[in-house]
């Protein structure tokens, strides 16, 4: 059953449109991430769902009830802010208690919920600290605990990990998802970090320029994106312009590859660096013919893999090779192998509908 149902939400600033009609839904217990570059409208959308920003049109339903006309304090949604927004003049415990007091929750129940939240957010022993006495990670946990004591129908996260250093971010990423499962919450999470989105989400909503580009599970979107933008934004890829006819398409340097389905005319295909096979050719050996056009232009060793830049015709390809015995040095000619049945990508141009 869908807990949150967003239908055709728009947002205009004067004459310019920040959100084109956006629709999405979040099922009960689901962890959905809105992913996009900065300025794509993801935070605006989140603020509209919370009610601290007003939509220009459209409808929002939470647990079947229409909420888009309600003020934020009556929406039964809790939000974790990027800045944490802890009340600086209250102790950790008072921060947690604030929402319960505002909602007139009984004293005993307040106590029970606060103790529970403190425990699952590993804040035990910090209850009388002031926010400024806490580390960034602890402040982040307090912000989370303050949201979950409310036992809201929906939890919103506005890039809550982006102010933390990389290592802590990794740890908290996993803690956050584990917590989400444990309390059975429904969460809508906003981030511009594609690795974060893939690691945490049940489903990802990719946004760009005020539009939803594509929705899917992390695996679907990474392995078989339908939109060129998704392919480029999630992980690394080579986006190649092709001309298709029937089931075949010519890559920029003339090589013929198989497509997943029939198509005609110009389009794009995405080939992940790790799905291209790379093999050094023998120096002046038998297979010079098939090797001729591809040359290693650069290599960076990443530890678990090596990332090559390979020049083929006028194109530079990123190719990654995991666990190679030795690096192929720059200047060597290489043989590349491409995966079969490449899907032809659509390109949802940002201003197509505006025209």
């Amino acid at each position: 059953m869908s807990m949150l149902e967003i239908t055709d939400i728009t947002k205009d600033y004067g004459a310019s449109r920040a959100l084109h009609p956006v629709s999405l839904s979040v099922d009960e217990g689901e962890f959905v991430t809105i992913l996009g570059p900065s300025g794509c409208g993801k935070s605006s959308l989140l603020r509209i769902v919370m009610g601290i920003s007003q939509q220009s049109g459209g409808e929002i339903r939470l647990a079947g009830k229409r909420i888009d006309m309600l003020p934020p304090e009556r929406r039964d949604i809790a939000m974790v802010f990027q800045s944490y927004a802890l009340f600086p003049h209250m102790t950790v415990e008072q921060n947690l208690r604030f929402g319960l007091r505002m909602k007139n929750v009984a004293k005993a129940e307040q106590q029970r919920r606060i103790a529970h939240a403190m425990e699952i957010c590993t804040l035990t022993g910090l209850s009388s600290r002031m926010p400024r006495q806490l580390s960034g990670g602890q402040q982040q946990r307090v912000a989370l605990a303050r949201a979950i004591v409310m036992q809201p129908n929906l939890l919103l996260f506005d890039e809550p990990l982006s102010n933390l250093d990389a290592k802590l971010r990794d740890t908290l990423r996993h803690e956050l998802v584990a917590l989400h499962r444990r309390i059975g919450a429904t969460s809508l999470y906003v981030t511009h970090d594609q690795a974060e989105a893939m690691a945490m989400s049940d489903r990802i909503v990719v946004m760009n320029a005020g539009r939803v580009i594509e929705v899917g599970t992390p695996l679907e979107l990474y392995r078989s994106p339908r939109q060129a933008f998704t392919a480029g934004f999630l992980g690394q890829t080579n986006l190649l312009a092709v001309t298709a006819s029937g089931r075949k398409a010519h890559l920029p340097w003339g090589q013929l590859v198989d497509l997943a389905e029939d198509a005609a005319g110009p389009g794009q295909v995405s080939v992940r660096p790790e799905s291209i096979g790379i093999r050094a050719c023998d120096r002046g050996g038998r297979d010079t013919g098939s090797c001729a056009p591809a040359t290693v232009a650069g290599v960076s060793f990443m530890g678990a893999s090596a990332l090559y830049t390979v020049a083929i015709g006028d194109t530079l390809l990123k190719v990654s090779q995991a666990g190679g015995d030795a690096l192929i040095e720059p200047g060597r000619t290489v043989a590349l192998s491409f995966p079969d049945r490449l899907p032809l990508l659509e390109d949802r141009a940002p201003d197509r509908e505006a025209a």
Binding site: E73, R74, M79
Partner: protein, 289 residues
């Protein structure tokens, strides 16, 4: 090696700009010396003048002393009454100023609007224009409204003077509250009254305290506006004390006594505030002037 020695003098210089424990004594001495010169010395001279019975050059100290003038002034029944008047008026003015200033400061701090600079200048106008000009203008109107010669009139006219600084200080305090804090409070179920009570007011405390102290002292020591609107029916302490001054000749002994009595309330208020409040709160609020 050469690079290292090139940097060495610069490093030494940078280090010498910082205070070390060796500097503690000279720093303390010069600090207290300047405080003494700026505050204690003038006050001491004033006190000497107030008890001097004849003090002419080239004598460094008065030839004789008398407590008679202090006794005369303090024996005046009207003085106590005027002091009580002043305290009551100052308290009412302070609270009224705070209540009136809060919404204005909130708007100034939170909402961007056109002509904001113009409004700011308008708010500060009573500080820029001499009090006597404001007083004469308002006096006319109050006379017509029947507010002249009343405590209410004096309170109103004093608020004109205390409002600008209070608005300024509170605006500065409210500007430091991040929007997200308000949004978070709303998402946690707080309506506007709850936000004002639990979030905005507590966080505006430094500004409120600083503004309150300035308003209290400003009201207590205010003369020209209260004089024109209130005198001779409403007598505040400054009005009463200024009466002791002879308009035709400068009498330093009496002027000294008046100065001392006017200084007292400000001193008491700041000493109490200093005891009760944390230093950082005081500094945070006062720093916004």
């Amino acid at each position: 090696m050469t690079a290292l020695s090139d940097h060495a003098p610069a490093l030494r210089q940078a280090r010498s700009l910082r205070f070390t424990s060796d500097d503690r004594l000279p720093v303390a001495i010069s600090l207290y010396a300047s405080l003494f010169l700026a505050i204690a010395l003038p006050l001491g001279l004033m006190f000497l003048w107030s008890i001097a019975d004849g003090w002419r050059p080239p004598n460094l100290l008065p030839q004789a002393y008398t407590a008679a003038r202090w006794a005369d002034v303090l024996a005046d029944d009207g003085l106590l009454r005027a002091a009580i008047n002043s305290v009551v008026i100052a308290i009412v003015v302070t609270f009224a100023t705070a209540i009136i200033a809060l919404p204005t400061a909130w708007a100034m701090a939170r909402f961007p609007f056109r002509l904001k600079r113009v409004v700011e200048v308008f708010i500060l106008a009573p500080i820029i224009i001499p009090g006597i000009v404001v007083a004469v203008g308002i006096g006319q109107i109050f006379l017509a409204l029947g507010l002249a010669y009343s405590v209410a009139g004096v309170i109103l006219v004093q608020i004109v003077g205390t409002l600008p600084l209070m608005i300024r200080l509170m605006t500065a305090a409210l500007e430091t509250i991040p929007d997200d804090l308000i949004h978070a409070a709303r998402s946690l179920g707080a309506g506007t009254p709850g936000i004002v009570r639990h979030i905005v007011l507590p966080l505006a405390v430094p500004g409120l305290l600083a503004g309150g102290l300035m308003s209290f002292v400003g009201s207590f020591e205010e003369f020209d506006k209260s004089f024109i609107v209130g005198a001779p029916v409403v007598e505040t302490l400054p009005i009463k004390l200024y009466m002791y001054l002879d308009p035709y000749s400068m009498q330093l002994p009496l002027a000294s006594i008046v100065s001392f009595l006017l200084l007292l309330p400000a001193l008491i208020v700041f000493v109490i505030a200093g005891r009760v409040l944390r230093d950082d709160l005081m500094a945070a609020g006062m720093g916004k002037i």
